[in-house]
Amino acid sequence: MPAPKQDAFEHTMLSHDKLFVVLAVVLIIWFGIVALILNTDRKLARLERKVAAGIPDSTTA
């Protein structure tokens, strides 16, 4: 018999044809995409500040 302490999470993940495992995977991907969007926004903000300050081309690449 497995220890009941470990069971709760494992039991949930294995129930409903293991559908919650897919949910976990999709959530990981979604939060990855969110992190990417936020990261790009930070870069855009930095670039826009540079444009506003009127600094012409230096580290465009």
């Binding site: 044809d17 559908l19 949910l23 979604w30 969007i37 926004d41 855009l44 670039l47 444009v51 081309d57």
Partner: protein, 232 residues
Amino acid sequence: MPAVNVKRYRFIRNALVVWMTAVILGAFLLDIPRINILEHTARNLYFHVPMWFSMMAAVFVSAWHSFKYLRTNDLVRDVRAAEAARMGIFFGLLGLVTGMMWARFTWYQSSRQWWNFDPKQSMAAVQVMIYAGYLVLRSALDDPIRRARISAVFNLFAIVTVPFLLYVLPRQMESLHPGAEGNPAFSEITHPIMRLVFYPAVIGFIGLFWVLYTQRVRAKVAEMALEPQHQF
């Protein structure tokens, strides 16, 4: 005047993060009726179908800005039209690939095909190619003003094909895809629980299009401001 309202952008982006997280939770946690053949793949309704809604939103946004470009000659409109079309292709390709994956294990479960020229899929592929043609046309023109004007005209012709290729024609032909004769796409048979997730998913994915599109517009506008030859 900045080309993009960054404050509004941030607000919508943050709302999107919360909204889509809720949609994903609903898509998996809410129980759905198990239908023969479809089984759990019915949940693809929440993900595959919104790709097409996002694509249509993208190409309409694109056509709108092409139209505005021709009236104002504002190059920011041209940037918006191009980036929206790019995202339209992106979501169109995702729609095609996810549709193939879904069809392989439902329509073609026994015949084991990935592609069988189903009219709905073929027309969707043609639609994506028309927009790819728009980008190819753009890349062939060097002068920004000429490129903006000629591609705007092409884009207005492209948008006219959308209702025919994605809606009218597939429904005239024999197709396995829901929406054909005697096979409703979305009707009273769709379980209320599924509607509860589906509509927010459509809104969410259109929101995702908008965020990605706005990012690209911001990047392009900044790039143009930093490069003297693109001064406008």
